[in-house]
Amino acid sequence: MPNALRPTMALALAGASLAGLLAATAPAEAGKIFVTNERDHNMTVLDSESLKVLATVKTGRRPRGLIASPDNKLIYVCASDDNRVEVYDPNDYKLIKTLPSGPDPELFVLHPSGNPLYIANEDDALVTIVDTQSGQVLGEIPVGVEPEGMGISPDGKVLVNTSETTSMAHFIDTSTKQIVENVLVDTRPRVAQFTPDGKFTWVSAEVGGTVSIIENAKHEVVKKLNFEIPGVNAEAIQPVGIRISKDGSTAFVALGPANRVAVVDVKTFEVKKYLLVGQRVWQMAFSPDEKTLYTTNGNSNDVSIIDVESMKVTKSVAVGRGPWGVVAVP
């Protein structure tokens, strides 16, 4: 087994002081990373410090979308083939309850208050609204064909759903449950994400290979991001997941079979770097302190860990088959 090489006393001392510094700043308790494995019908729980597998939790069939409640006390999983949302306890990984979701739920989003839950039903061209407390379906909103991406404004007033076949971003007023505007974007929009100031919505187009940035006040696409990676075919660049840091400075866009995550400056729209991760990267999640970003690599069955500050991929960790959704809780 290879051991650490620490050739001189000076280095050892430097290492020791660094270790001391790290120990002083390290959080008291490590967090957890939850990853849904759509082909294994389970969920892998990783320790955020050691990156060891803490548990593998059996879920409903084909688990995909995965989010945590705002207080991090509940984990919501879309069990797509069982047509329901499952709610887990992040401490003992027990199934607390199931919620109705409508058919084939893929992605969902929670209202910033933690209730209700907005679910995209891929097969029925609907967005279903479910009360997380009572489990009641509060309403259904007809949208375009094959709805998937779900984004909600920080104030919870506007919901954006993307429909893959219609290639539209539907802006929905959450109080009236009505579509207020449809914005045409590039082919096969997969994910919608609001900027933290609520002024813009970023929508990724998987087949179009772009990210459209929509100004919410005007419902207009004000900018389209294109991606070019030397040595990678343009067809392989398929943007899906989008994450924007809370300070609104940096966005990360998962580029699917290009096996890269693009790092984008939110102010200048400049792509700063492409980070090599595992195969077919789709979804991503920040750690609670946003120092780390986790990506699910659906074809290489692993999760890549990105150090946000240095913009480097530090490690890739094997999980189950077909990792899809990911969420990190403290």
Binding site: P2, N3, L5, L11, I305
Partner: protein, 287 residues
């Protein structure tokens, strides 16, 4: 002839101080460095050769091969990152053999005679020559690393540049000693072309420099077997792990063992009483 041999170990006692050894070592290293720096073409080719591999060859494989995770890597890497340690070892392989070529040149032009009449033991002169070769190879490797840095080929931790230094010294020693041992059997400069064909290329290609061994194993068990027993593979792996702050014990053992064997062979080969130089009609034989 035999008198020369008998006298050789005694000479240091006749007014040669320990500092004299240092002067001798310094002189040889200085001469090699000067020779290297004056041969701009050699420096340029030493730098261009690995960069051609890095910029052209690796760029072509970039998308297709950036997929596997093998130690010491902890995540996916680009192909150019994978082959960088192999190219560093390649620089040292070329340098080790070119340095040995200079021994043939020295013998042809008579400079070696000056060296050999110095009052220092033969093994010391050879080791000094090796040290000089290593110093020159380090210069080349770090020049390559500097260019590679701007190509985004760099270790995760900048300390890797320091950790790799002992590994490079050891691999430089092994490849240099191998060159020295081989140079004793060459009579002419022209033989370097055969060295390229029969030593450098087979050693380089049948190693882990360009492809991970698991990939070689998938295509040919025999080639995998050859690669595993190729000392150059272990030189590459020693450098690769060191660059990431890790020590690969097997590689270390193989490189250290091969260094000892090659150096012994070189010392024996250049020893006028046992060596090949005398029998093959070197300048010593003419005395």
């Amino acid at each position: 002839m035999s008198a020369v041999v008998a006298d050789a170990p005694l000479r240091p006692h006749r007014g040669v101080s320990a500092s004299g050894y240092l002067v001798c070592l310094g002189g040889i290293v200085w001469r090699e460095s000067l020779r290297f720096l004056h041969q701009r073409g050699r420096f340029l080719s030493a730098l261009v050769r690995p960069l051609v591999w890095l910029f052209i060859f690796a760029a072509g494989f970039r998308a297709t091969l950036g997929v596997s995770i093998i130690p010491p890597y902890e995540t996916y890497i680009l192909y150019e990152v994978y082959i960088a340690p192999g190219l560093m070892a390649m620089i040292q392989l070329f340098n080790g053999l070119q340095s040995s070529l200079s021994m043939v040149y020295d013998r042809e032009v008579g400079a070696m005679r000056i060296l050999l009449v110095s009052p220092y033991p033969r093994w010391f002169l050879l080791v000094s020559k090796l040290v000089a070769g290593i110093a020159v190879s380090l210069l080349q490797v770090y020049a390559f690393l500097l260019v590679a840095y701007f190509w985004d080929v760099r270790p995760d931790d900048p300390m890797g540049y320091l950790y790799v230094l002992p590994a490079l010294i050891l691999t430089g020693f092994m490849l240099g000693a191998m060159g020295l041992a081989m140079s004793s059997v060459f009579k002419q400069l022209e033989n370097f072309a055969s060295v390229m064909n029969f030593v450098i290329f087979p050693m380089f290609f049948a190693s882990s420099a360009l492809y991970p061994l698991w990939r070689v194993q998938q295509s040919s068990e025999l080639l995998y077997f050859i690669c595993t027993y190729n000392p150059f593979t272990h030189a590459v792996e020693l450098i690769r792990f060191a660059l990431y702050g890790q020590l690969e014990w097997t590689a270390l053992a193989v490189v250290a063992g091969c260094s000892a064997v090659f150096l012994t062979a070189a010392v024996l080969a250049y020893d006028p009483s046992t060596g090949l130089t005398a029998r093959r009609g070197g300048p010593d034989a003419a005395k």
